[in-house]
Structure formats: C-alpha cells, structure tokens
C-alpha cells in the first residue's frame, strides 16, 4: 500500500515533522513502513512527439522527434504505444530516475538519443511489474505546455510511504484517513476529517428509487443520486494522488469513486441511473444465473454470490464488479452511488472463484467501518458536485442492519504490566489510550475502554488493549527475563526419539542424511509399488511433478543419487527418515537408504571396499542389532517391485514384515545401486529387553572347520539352521569362510565352508565331546541337505 504524505496532510498537521523519522516511529509501533520514497527529481519535462518512425536496425525501437519547448530532441524509444502527436514525459540528459538510472546522451544501435520517454514505473509511480511495463509510456493530457516541468504536475515532490501491512492493519491503514489516525496515535495529534458538505437540490432520491434487501449477507446499503454530471478529466491533484496510489486515472467520475475509497477505505459503486431504472434489489444469485461484467466477460454465478439487481436482472456482483448493463460511460448524466457493506466471506469466495480480486473486493473482505460507509457517500457527492458539476439530490436511501453494540473492554495496570513484563504507570497507560483516541473511564483501578469502530481489528478483550497500549509504549522497553517455571528435564518424545537414534547410527555407519520433498510426481509414485496403499493426491497441485504425497522415499533418494552422480561423485551412501502418508491421513515414518560405489576407498592401492548386497545387509544388521533386535530378524527372498529379482529380500522381525532391501532393478537404473526401506513405526513397536551383562567363558574354545558340497541353489541359512539345531548351546559362533564353485565340482554344485566355534562356560571342552557333536552335525547336514562332506 502506498500512502502519499501530501494527501495524509489533508487530515493531520505534520508541520515540523521529519517524515523519515516519522516512518521509523510508525514502524516501531507496529505499522511497517517498508520504504520511504522521497523524490528529488529534475530534468523532467513535457514533450510532444512530432515525428515517430521505426528504427532501421530494430523491430521494436522508434526514433522520435520530441518538442521539449526549448528545442526538438531526437529520442529513441522502445515503448509499443509511442506515436506521433502525443504529449509525453521526457527525462533529459542529467536526470536521475528513482531507480537510479542516469539519463545521458547515448547512441542506441547507431542512432543518437538525447533523453528518454518515461513510463510511470520508471518514475517510481507504479510498481515495476511485467504488466505495467507492457502498458508502455505514460501519455499526458494534450493541454500541457511543451517544456513544462512535470515534477510538480505529477506531484513527484511528495513523500510516499510504502507500507508492508499485516492482515490486521490492512483494514484501517489501507486508506489515508485510517493511516492519519495511526500517525496521530504515534504523535499524539488530532485528525480532521475531509469536507463532506453539499448543496443538495430539493428533489429527493426517494422519488427515484426503491430499495429492497433480500439477503442477510448485506448488512448496510446506502444510495444517493447525483444528476447532470459532466464526464471529463479529473483535476490534477486527484489524478496525481491516484497515480501515486498505483491507480490509473480514467475520468472524473470513476476517479472520484477510487479517490474516496483511498480516503475512507469504503469502496463505492456508481450506476448509470438511467440504465438502472427505479429499483434496487439485493439478493443471493441463483445457481447458473449469468451476468456480463464491466470487462465484457460473461460470468456464471452461484447461490454463494451476492448480486445487486434492478428487481430482476443482476446489475452488479456485490463487492466484486459491476455489470456492463448499468456502466457509467461518457454519455452518462445521472449517477446512483452505492456505499454498502456485504458479508466479507461471500465477497472473498466470489472474488476468488471468479479470479476478480481488486482493491475494492479486498476491502470488503477485510471488513468495513459502517460509520465510514455513511461518510464516504457524502464525500463522493461533495466531490461530484465540485469536480463533475453534478447536482446532488437530497436524502439518502438507507438499509441498515448493523449491530452497533459498542466494543467495550476492561483492563488494569497490573494486567498490562503482567503480560508485557514492564512497569508502566497509570500515566503511561493513559497516554497510550489518549494517543490511540480510545475513550475510557477509570474506576477501581480499572480502565473501561471503548474501542472505536475504525479499529475493526481490535476486539473487546483486555489482551487486545494490552497489545495496543504496549506497542505505543514501545517494545524496546521490555526487559529480558527468563520464565520462572518448575525445573524439569527436556526429552525427545515419540517418534522423534527413534528418528534421532537411528539417524545417529546410520551416520556412524557412513551414510549421509538427506532432506527431500514430500510431494512427488505420478512417475515417482509409480515406482517401488510393493505393498502400496492408496496415495494422497493434492486437490490443486501447483505442478504435476509435485502432486502426490509420497509413500516411499526411495525415488527421492534416486533423484539425490542422480544429482550427485552428475557432479562426478562416485561414492554415494545416503539415507532419509521421513513421514509418508496414505489413505486420506494415515502416517508411516520410513527409513530409506541408498548406497553405491566404495564404502571405504583408496584411490591408488586397490584397498577399497566396494558396496554390494552383503555390505548394505551389514548396515541393516548393524542397525537392527543396535536397536536391540539381534536374533529376531530374518532376510527372506522376495519379489519386490523395482528391485532386481535375484538380489532382493524382505526384512522381517518376529516374522512381521518391516521392509525390504536389494539392488535397484536395471530397468530403473543401470548402476549397481543398493537400497533398503524400513518402517520406523513397525521397528519401534517391538519391545526389547534391558541390557544385561553376560559372562565371557573363562575356558578355551575349540574351533572346527567343515566344508560341504551342496546344490548351487541351496541357501546357506538352511545349512546353518541345521548346524545350530544339532549343535545346541555349545556352538557359540559360526562363520562362512569359503564359498567355491568351479573346477573339481559339478556344474550345479557349490562348496561352502564353515568355521564352528564351541565353548562351554563351565569347563574345558574335551576333544571327544566336540567330535561327537561335530560328527553328528556332518551326519545331519549331509542327510538333510543332500550334502557331501568335502575332503580337506
């Protein structure tokens, strides 16, 4: 929101006030003045384009001969709307524009250019947007004298505050009177409201219009009529002020409605009274009712939209946009002015649905002060009388269903000091309230405060008053304490605790934590679909590549992998722990990892350890052991979507599936990439026992090696299970120490060698004892697995 300080000074005396300093004060008290634009412009004059031809070396540049009074300058101009016989703003060499551009003599594609024809955005009068740039240069009225200094005309020697408003203050500080009150509360000065007097003719609007409100969503409707208006250009001060507020002047009538809106915040709508007829009926639209709006578009309405009608036909979408059928145009003579309050939610929904949000609709949405609705319509009449030669009819047609209950709140000094943590005196509090212009009484150490209607954002609650009092008192006076509370220890609660635990372990195992996006594309959602549940789709995604909430983290890790690989990183070990969602709002936290390349790498002595299935299996086992789940997990061959069918397994704990692991299917990725994904929730449901010391045997162990020739498809685990079962508790360790296929063995056979360790915690084992078990093991394994004992 841009506020012209010249304009504001119509309502408050700022004599002797440094406007830069004031901006800081206002910001400190809660209304953020983002920028103070103080122009110091010169060398800006009116020019007349005498000639305009295309630049020979360009498809968009023009060469213009411009009369600037003191002579004719050749200027190259790139604007699409430059043409012969128009008056324009010329910045002459030596000028410095608000954006810092220095104008000097130059040569543009071989053609000399002595200055620049300006757009409003280049003068800091409009935001520099693509839209505004497309509008091109600003065309001045034809009656201006060539060479005239334009700074004064454009009101450029004004100070403009660019406000960055919070939603609460977007109600009252988006108009100049409201902002004047804010200045008044900071400076302790008084606000004078503008002149709203008129000299009405005897004829009453009541003879020309009947009003009927058939919806509870219109709480106030004021209508006044002005006759015999002359449509023409607005006076300079209105045009300048509108330009500075970011609005384009159109004609006096339209400009006055915008001007009053920028004064009071009350949007007005003007109907061509002759087109409208004698009735106004406000009602909800019917479903599929249509209206052609001012922008010549046919809009289909719903029963959520409020419409103004002439009794039958809609003539305006309330708060949003008028209809073509009652538009004020150059031949309009008689005007009906509407100043109304509509349900802000309806206006919001309608303007959002029709994509017709405007300065007016935003003000309806935020809420309006009914006192200003009445004042604004009078003010518009005053201006129409003055600047459009209109005759104001007497009386106002009014529908008023506003709840006018006063907003009263009570607060004590102690309450103020308790919440703010300060030590304000009654004098301090009274000063704040006086400056705010809030009326109050003081009795029994309690302030009873009436909150004025212009502050719709302040509710009738002591907390609201404390905030208002505090922000004017100054938050810089708040001391720094620490809360006095019971001491207790802080803890990680719930899943966070496990996430941290697992994260630390995975990092220590050499994996790097990643953070990727929750939203994925349909293609990514289609990967690794084993055990997939119903995905959650966004209702209105911003783009298709972020339209679905992921159920698996692996596609995201693959993206991280690709990103890093493209940057020549060979060894990639990464993981992520994140929430996944399915079936409306079900949550599952998953741990996923991706590994590729060397786990430990040496670039020159071939001493690297390469990542393969058994390495990632080692990572998983290490993690599960760390989580206290040793001896409870299993890896079972399984077919998993997206995983190499021969290098793939599911991971179970206590027979419950918790995740999977394997090599990424070559259809998805050609590289040797290994992944796992485990459900954190399922892991953490498992109860574990406390850590207990277990004595290490004092007696020596006995080791025995044995090798079996078995079918090549025989799983090692089956043999190990048999060995364990036969050996019983004396077998304390079992390791595979050799796997062999090839020479001396049949094609479909392999040899696996195991090293078995036997220990007894109570005595030294005799060779005899061990051999007895060992022979039994050989017997059982050969029998059960059609194995042959391999000779040493």
């Amino acid at each position: 929101m841009a506020i012209s300080m010249n304009w504001v000074q119509d309502y408050i005396d700022l004599t002797g006030i440094d406007l830069k300093n004031l901006a800081t004060k206002i910001t400190d008290s809660g209304v953020n003045v983002e920028k103070v634009i103080q122009n110091n412009l010169n060398n800006l004059v009116v020019g007349e384009v005498l000639e305009c031809k295309m630049h020979p070396d360009s498809d968009h540049l023009h060469i213009c001969m411009v009369d600037i009074g003191s002579g004719v300058h050749q200027i190259v101009c790139g604007a699409p709307n430059v043409k012969k016989n128009i008056k324009v703003i010329v910045s002459l060499p030596g000028a410095i524009l608000p954006g810092g551009i220095k104008i000097k003599k130059s040569t543009i594609r071989g053609v000399e250019s002595n200055g620049m024809i300006c757009a409003l955005s280049e003068l800091g009068l409009e935001e520099d947007t693509k839209e505004n740039r497309e509008k091109g240069i600003f065309i001045l009225p034809n009656n201006l004298e060539n060479g005239k200094d334009i700074v004064e005309y454009l009101g450029l020697n004004d100070t403009v505050y660019e406000l960055d408003l919070n939603p609460n203050r977007s109600i009252d500080c988006t108009n100049h009177i409201g902002f004047a009150y804010e200045i008044a509360s900071v400076l302790g000065r008084k606000v004078t409201l503008p002149d709203i007097t008129t000299s009405p003719i005897e004829e009453s609007v009541k003879n020309h219009l009947s009003l009927e409100i058939k919806t509870p969503n219109c709480s106030m409707y004021n209508a006044k009529m002005v006759k015999d208006v002359v449509i023409k250009e607005s006076p300079d001060f209105i045009k300048n002020r509108l330009i500075k507020a970011g609005m384009r002047p159109i004609n006096n009538v339209v400009d006055i409605s915008n001007y009053v809106m920028l004064e009071y915040g009350q949007p007005l709508h003007f109907f061509d009274k002759d087109k409208l007829g004698d009735k106004i009926l406000v009602r909800m639209a019917g479903d599929n009712e249509t209206i052609i709006t001012l922008d010549r578009k046919t809009r289909t309405l719903t029963n959520e939209d409020i419409v103004i009608t002439d009794g039958n036909t809609p003539v305006c979408i309330a708060g949003v946009m008028g209809a073509e059928n009652t538009e004020v145009d150059s031949s309009t003579k008689n005007i009906l002015i509407e100043s109304a309050i509509f349900n802000s939610y309806n206006v919001r929904y309608t303007s959002l649905r029709l994509d017709l949000r405007s300065e007016a609709s935003l003000r309806y949405e935020r809420g309006l002060n009914y006192e200003y609705s009445t004042l604004a319509i009078e003010r518009a009449c005053h201006l129409l009388e003055k600047y459009a030669d209109g005759k104001v009819l007497s009386d106002t047609i009014t529908y008023d269903n506003i709840d006018k209950a006063k907003k009263i709140a009570k607060v004590t000094k102690d309450e103020v000091n308790m919440v703010l943590g300060v030590s304000m005196t009654d004098k301090d509090i009274q000063k704040s309230l006086d400056n705010l212009g809030f009326e109050y009484t003081y009795a029994n150490k309690e302030y009873t405060v009436e909150i004025p209607n212009r502050r719709l954002d302040v509710e009738a609650h002591k907390q609201d008053l404390i905030e208002e009092i505090g922000r004017l008192y100054g938050y810089d006076k708040i001391p720094s304490n620490l809360p006095i509370v019971e001491s207790k220890k802080g803890s990680y609660i719930g899943n966070v605790k496990y996430r941290k635990l697992i994260s630390k372990r995975l990092r220590s195992l050499g994996l790097n934590e990643c953070r990727t996006y929750t939203l994925v594309s349909k293609e990514e959602d289609n990967l690794f679909k084993t055990d997939r549940k119903e995905s959650i789709h966004l209702l209105k995604p911003m783009s298709m590549d972020k339209s679905i909430i992921r159920q698996t983290l692996i596609p995201s890790l693959l993206k991280v992998y690709e990103y890093n690989k493209a940057r020549k990183i060979e060894d990639i070990s990464i993981y992520e722990i994140a929430n996944t969602y399915y079936e409306k709002d079900k949550e599952e936290t998953k741990i996923a990892a991706l590994m590729r390349g060397n786990y430990i790498s040496n670039t020159w002595n071939k001493n690297s350890i390469k990542i393969d299935f058994y390495l990632i299996k080692g990572v998983v086992e290490n993690l599960l052991n760390y989580l206290g789940l040793s001896n409870r997990y299993q890896f079972n061959e399984a077919v998993i979507d997206g995983i190499h069918p021969g290098i793939s397994c599911e991971i179970t704990i206590d027979k419950e599936k918790i995740g999977y692991m394997g090599k990424v299917h070559p259809n998805i990725l050609k590289d040797d990439v290994y992944v796992f994904e485990i459900s954190l929730n399922k892991l953490m449901e498992k109860k574990i026992r406390p850590i207990k010391f277990k004595e290490i045997s004092k007696y020596p162990s006995v080791s025995k090696d044995v090798a079996f020739i078995v079918d090549e498809n025989k799983k090692s685990k089956e043999i190990v299970d048999t060995i364990k079962k036969t050996a019983g508790h004396l077998l304390t360790d079992i390791q595979v120490f050799d796997l062999y296929k090839g020479e001396n063995l049949d094609n479909n056979k392999k040899s696996i060698a195991y090293s078995l360790t036997f220990t007894d915690t109570s005595k030294t084992l005799s060779d005899e004892e061990v051999m007895k078990i060992f022979n039994k093991i050989i017997e059982d394994v050969t029998k059960k697995h059609s194995a042959i004992l391999r000779d040493k």
Binding site: G421, K488, G490, K540, K584, D585, N598
Partner: protein
C-alpha cells in the same frame, strides 16, 4: 696334541672363522660345526674311555668352559647380525607417507538438521520437550483452533495445499502441534515444547521460496508468563546461533494466534549494525515471529485463559541456516549435494 692344545686350536680357528661370518645362515652353520652333536667342542669329550677319573673330570671342566666361551662368541655375533638384518628390513619397508589416505566415508547430517539439532540441544537443556505432529493435518488444527476461522483474510498469507475437501491439508505451519500438545495434555499441566517440522505452502520454488520448508516452533504455557520472559528466551537462542555479542529487539507484529505479537530481530552480525545488504541498511535482521498466546487459542484447547498464560515463537529453520552459514539459495537444503558435506562435517566454532 694334549687337550689344552686342542682347545687353543679350536679357539683360534673360531676366531678366524667368526671374522668371515656376515649372515645368519653362515652363523647357523658355524654353530653346528662347533656346538652340534658332532661339533668340534662335543668331539673333545669323545673317546675318554681309557682315561682316569681325574683326567675325565679335567677334560669335562675344560670343554664346558670352552662350550660357554664359544656360545658367548656366537650369541653375540648372532645378536649383531639380527640387528643388522632388522635394520635392513625396516629400511626396505620405508613408505611414502605423502601418498593420499584411505577415505573413511563418515556420514553426516543434512545442513538443516545440523542447525535444528543445535537448537534442540539448547531447548532440551532449558527443559523443553521436542515433539512432532502429522504433516497431513486437519484444517481444524492448522487454522480454526488457532483463531483462523474459514474465510479469515490472514489465511491468504498461508496459501495451503489441501488434500481432502476443505478439511485436510498439508500443514502450512507447525503451530497445529501446539494445539495437539495442549489438547492431549488432559491434566492441563504446564507445557514447554518445541516442534521442529516440515511445512508446506503454495510457493514456486526459487532461490528464496520453497513449497516445502521447516519451522522450529516453541510453546510455553504456565502462569504469569510475560513478553519479557519471551525476550530472555529469544536472547539465549540468538546468542547461541549468532554469537554472544548479538543484540535483540522486538517489533510489534500480527499473528492470529498470539497477542501481543512480535517480530524478533537480531543485530546484524555482518556489518555490526553499520548497515549492509544483509540487513537492508537497517542494522537489524528479522529471524522469527512470536507473541503471547491468544486467549482464544488457550480457551480452544482447554486452558482457561484467566489462569494460564504463555508464549509461542516460531523460526524458519532454512532462514536461520541461510543467515548463519551464508547460504543464498534455499534449494541448497533439498538438493543434498554431497560435495558440501566436508565443510559441514565438523564441530561448530564456539
């Protein structure tokens, strides 16, 4: 030759042979020659059958002495040779210690997580619990109970991804965790929590915007809590993250769920408040928002606002990390470029 002469001869021979022995192999042979079962020293005591007991004794004594002497000479040479050979071996084992190391690929945390963990440690030490809440959240918790009813204009600032009608959404802030914490605390006891978490808004991703981002939000509910308590808490955070010489300030602001609401600023660490690009010439940098919990929010969650007060604060984790580490593109946190790892895999300066 009598026995004495024989001994002298052996000694003489050994002396000259020792001079010629310069490796352990030759030495082993020498050992066998003199001390072996058929060695020269052993031979002395052979064929003593026709000698008297006295003579036998005498020869035995002399040969034992000789044995000892020979042993000493050979052992000493043996030690010499062993030492020499060890030295030779060590010399041959010398390596080029300037060749590159074997890389032990240690894993590290995401940059953002590093910052979050730093904050968590700080708040845990002040007795705050670290809690989580769902990212697919009810509109009720994300907005309504936070004093943001449907149609509230402040919802505009948080353009939200809805997933189911107008009731479920991807949370646009971590504040619903506050609501959940208060509602779930049936005993209505004091609360001290922080909730770092992912949040989502309809933003086009660029250097400073991200549709997914991270908030670290905190809530303290107790009795007689004031803005001054919030200020003290903020001071600790600001100094921990941005240095002990940080000044802080509050500026009035607006959040629907706090009242009064403040913006939390720190003095610019880049220019020492002289004014620079980072602080846009103001000397101050805004790092978070906060305020006294709104009475409606407390009452909505079953904490009687006439008895309980509290403060809530929120930081954008990405913003903090960008400021702290000088990162200029928010996407840095989500691309996970492993080349950044080494720079961040270290302890923080005190």
């Amino acid at each position: 030759m009598n026995i004495e002469e024989k001994i002298e001869k052996i000694k003489k021979e050994l002396k000259s042979e020792i001079q010629l022995t310069n490796n352990t192999n030759d030495l082993a042979n020498l050992k066998v020659k003199y001390l072996g079962k058929k060695g020269l020293v052993t031979e002395l005591t052979r064929d003593m059958s026709n000698l008297s007991i006295e003579e036998k004794k005498e020869i035995g004594r002399l040969s034992n002495e000789l044995k000892k002497e020979v042993n000493t000479i050979i052992s000493s040479l043996e030690e010499d040779l062993n030492n020499k050979e060890l030295e030779k071996r060590l010399a041959s084992e010398k390596i080029d210690i300037t060749l590159p190391s074997t890389k032990i690929n240690i894993g590290g945390e995401n940059i953002l997580e590093k910052l979050i963990e730093e904050m968590e440690a700080l708040f845990l030490s002040m007795g705050y619990d670290v809690v989580e809440g769902p990212e697919v959240e009810k509109d009720l918790y994300n907005f309504e109970l936070l004093n943001l009813p449907k149609g509230h204009p402040a919802r505009d600032a948080q353009d939200t991804f809805y997933t189911f009608e107008d009731t479920l959404l991807l949370r646009s802030q971590t504040s619903p965790v506050q609501i959940r914490t208060m509602l779930e605390n049936k005993e209505k006891t004091p609360i001290r929590v922080i909730c770092p978490g992912k949040t989502y808004r309809r933003d086009d991703d660029d250097a400073t915007h991200s549709h997914q981002f991270t908030q670290v939000e905190g809530l303290l509910v107790d009795k007689n809590i004031s803005l001054a308590d919030l200020k003290g808490t903020f001071d600790i955070v600001a100094r921990k993250l941005f240095g002990n010489d940080r000044q802080t300030r509050f500026r009035p602001s607006y959040y629907p769920f706090t009242e009064p609401s403040v913006e939390m600023d720190i003095s610019c660490f880049n220019c020492g408040q002289k004014g620079c690009n980072l602080c846009k010439g103001t000397g101050w940098i805004t790092v978070g928002g906060a305020g006294v919990v709104h009475h409606n929010v407390l009452d909505n969650c079953g904490y009687d606002s006439n008895i309980w007060t509290g403060f809530a604060f929120g930081f954008g984790a990405e913003r903090l990390a960008m400021l702290k580490y000088g990162i200029t593109d928010i996407r840095t946190f989500y691309t996970n470029d492993l080349r950044l790892k080494d720079a961040f895999d270290r302890r923080e300066a005190e």
